[in-house]
Point group: C2
């Protein structure tokens, strides 16, 4: 067993002191190196209660300028608000930014093993969470993160001794709770669960380091050694391309854009009638999904001037403002750009029972970022799979995921651009950038076709909205949204 007590032999006192000094100095210097290399370093501490995680973190961070690190302390138990987000949410939003350390005083492990131990997590959910965690750790590593994981290990006897010592003084006895005592009493049982978790998540991209935590200084030295080694390795790997993974998700066959017939229309009368009926229906459904606590994610992409805004308005117009939000997505701000590109979308997930509509989305990675060179080729080539994984996470959480490509032809865009340019009230809607993007129509069309082919999964398919007749596109969108929500509410 990984957690079988490792009889590690700490160095002699004087040697330890000297080695600690060396490793501390190394870490202090590493801060500047990771800053320059823009390496984000995620350091996860897990382990037995009273194993001394907190005090080793306190020692380790003393070597680092506060501008270069943060400590994340997640409660063992998620809050009611956090329970209304996907399992990974409260951890993922805490990932470090480029060039900084983030120390996690327990991360996604503890919530999972707690769930197994207290019997609230089914085998199936356990498997799913292990899968989510492995996927996320791989995604982070692929995106240039260093993920270091330490498990603080102490024997049953040692834990009992520490708990006893804490309980003996009234200044410290409050730090021992029922769970700590329970864990010690059921040490073997817990060990089995921890061990299984460690094995299930022990991957070469983010392996577990089992720390013999009997002696505090020795534990610190082990952590520092591994951490410094990890940083050295990561700095060497930092600019290397990462292998592109094969798609393993079920895909839906989709047409190429050129094969989409754009002559579909609807009469004004029919439009008015349908709009009223469908909006009323969606309005009622909104309450239903609110009560059933189903989260809904509606992603809009489309050509400039295709009519995204007006389409979104017709969906939003049917909804109770307390239960939905529209996220207009512009270029990322500096603190967003400094993190995994999906971070700003994790941060904007709806809670259960709510609807989030995105006016442009995470697909920017494989369109504008690809074509404008805002990310490397390796980055956007990896992104199809990463996005499929992200959306799978959302679907598994129970979310309805609807993706719209609002489609027009080149000529229609030109007419609309010209109209905007010539109409004073519409001029704010058209910029030089729009004209520049327009010149790249063919490149975009290629990228969009690739995107639609590679990310139209059965659990989060693309829907193409023929929007030369904007009204037709609005009615079609309403029907698709209603249909998807109705299915989910059944």
């Amino acid at each position: 067993m990984l957690t079988d007590f490792v009889k590690s032999i700490p160095p002699e006192k004087e040697t330890m002191k000297a080695e600690l000094a060396v490793e501390r100095e190394k870490l202090a210097n590493a801060s500047m190196k990771i800053k320059v290399a823009k390496l984000p370093v995620m350091v996860i501490f897990e382990g037995w209660g009273s194993a001394g995680k907190g005090s080793v973190i306190a020692s380790v961070i003393k070597n680092i300028d506060p501008r270069f690190f943060e400590v994340a302390t997640t409660n063992a138990e998620p809050t009611e608000e956090e329970k209304r987000k996907p399992f990974l949410y409260r951890y993922f939003i805490e990932i470090p930014e480029a060039g900084k350390f983030k120390f996690f005083d327990t991360c996604w492990m503890q919530e999972v093993t707690d769930g197994v131990i207290d019997g609230t997590l089914s085998d199936k959910d356990y498997e799913r969470r292990i899968n989510s965690i492995n996927t996320t750790e791989r995604q982070l590593t692929d995106n240039g993160y260093l993920v270091m994981k330490f498990f603080f290990n102490i024997s049953k006897k040692e834990q009992a001794r520490r708990l006893g010592a804490l309980l003996a003084s009234k200044n410290t006895s409050w730090r021992v709770d029922e769970d700590d005592l329970w864990e010690n009493k059921h040490y073997k049982e817990c060990q089995k669960v921890y061990d299984k978790y460690l094995n299930d998540t022990n991957r070469s991209i983010s392996p577990w380091y089992i720390i013999d935590a009997k002696d505090k200084k020795w534990a610190e030295l082990q952590v520092l050694r591994f951490l410094n080694q990890g940083i050295d390795t990561a700095l060497k790997n930092h600019s290397l391309a990462v292998p592109i993974l094969q798609n393993t998700f079920p895909l839906k066959q989709m047409p190429l854009l050129k094969d989409v017939a754009l002559d579909k229309t609807i009469s004004d009368d029919e439009y008015k009638l349908q709009l009223k009926l469908l909006q009323a229906k969606l309005h009622e459904l909104h309450y239903k999904l609110y009560r059933k606590k189903i989260p809904v994610i509606i992603a809009y992409e489309g050509w400039d001037a295709a009519g995204k805004g007006g389409n979104i308005k017709r969906i939003a117009g049917a909804l109770d403002p307390r239960g939905y939000v529209v996220h207009p997505i512009a270029s990322p701000e500096p603190h967003e750009k400094a993190r995994h590109y999906l971070w700003r979308f994790w941060n904007r997930l709806p809670k259960t029972g709510h609807i989030a509509i995105y006016d442009r989305t995470w697909y920017g990675r494989v369109m504008v970022e690809r074509l404008e060179g805002f990310c490397s080729e390796n980055d956007w080539q990896r992104a199809y799979n990463e996005i499929n994984e992200f959306e799978k996470e959302l679907a598994d959480w129970g979310a309805v995921v609807i993706k719209f490509w609002v489609h027009i032809d080149n000529q229609t865009q030109l007419e609309r651009f010209t109209d905007r340019q010539n109409t004073p009230e519409k001029q704010w809607k058209i910029t030089d950038e729009d004209w520049r993007n327009r010149e790249k129509w063919d490149l975009y069309e290629g990228a969009i076709n690739e995107m639609i082919q590679k990310t139209s999964t059965t659990y989060a398919p693309w829907h193409i909205l023929e929007s030369v007749d904007k009204k037709y596109a609005r009615i079609k969108a309403l029907k698709i949204v209603i249909d998807a929500i109705e299915k989910a509410c059944k």
Copy 2:
């Protein structure tokens, strides 16, 4: 009484329709105007249960592009996490950014009146909250916000009728809860509380508009009219200077920087001994304040190279990393700059029982922003009072607020700059900007003196740390922090 039922007479059906169309169009156009003028518009909806706030908000936002508005929906009851922040926190972090609307489906009123009605809010706390709310609404207005407040008013009979209608169908009955029925039953009692609140917070900078909400379309029209008028007025006032308020807070007499003796030193042996003793003491106190749920705010300002970083390190080094955070404050990011300048600090408040250390602070407003012209003269002149109000809010919440000015003389700074420049490992610490700021020493000294004189309140005084001998300054800081926390823990 403000809420006495106003017998307003809605226009005839056809006139209403025409007027609604006009006002909706006006609002649609106002979106672009507020964007251009960078006017943030905060629209607060309060009122009786079932008065139709939600459905009027839904109608109003239909006229606005989703890029230009958000809806904030705060729970009636704060979550456990929110309860560990100041009362205003969960509302203040929701304020709109420049050029955008934010619609509040209930804001700070409801929590206060609920507290009065269910008897959990004492008279004294009520007074304090009213004062906080009035101060905040004034601060927002002074800082260029338009704050519009609507109270949706219906009679007891009308409310009973609506609740009855909702209860009659099983599709809608879930929307009625105990509190709604209780409110209707105790209408008179609630009305008295609402009325008092409305009177207590009815100021010319952000008056209450009582909306006769008997008819939905009529309610919408009233809101649109007031809102459009409000925007017109705000656009006219937008660039006007605001009167500077006299200081009303108790101030502590403070020396001018030139009169601070900088020759204080401590021997190395004494330093080592004291450091160990004081850090151990602070370590214990940290647990004490954690258990007593006292929040602590430690603000660091000081000359470049004065030794802020090393000083902070000695405080932080004594603390359990799960209970404190250091916030390094750089120039604001775009989304921060687009809001009230204190917003990013509201966002970084500790929770009760935790310590937040700020490496540079909100005082940037009256130092770098003043001297570099990043805000107007009127802005920084107002800021002394605004900051005193902010810190009073924190002190009233129960926070220990400690402010350090880390002080050295001009010659010492030159020596340290030169040393940094000449030492390869320290070069990252010195930039051209540091040298440029140094040329403005005298201007800064004037600004700092003014700041210390005007914001050294008895509840949040400045402490000057003589830091030519950095060790002396560290020991002094530790003593001040320990002393302040000990007093608060008594």
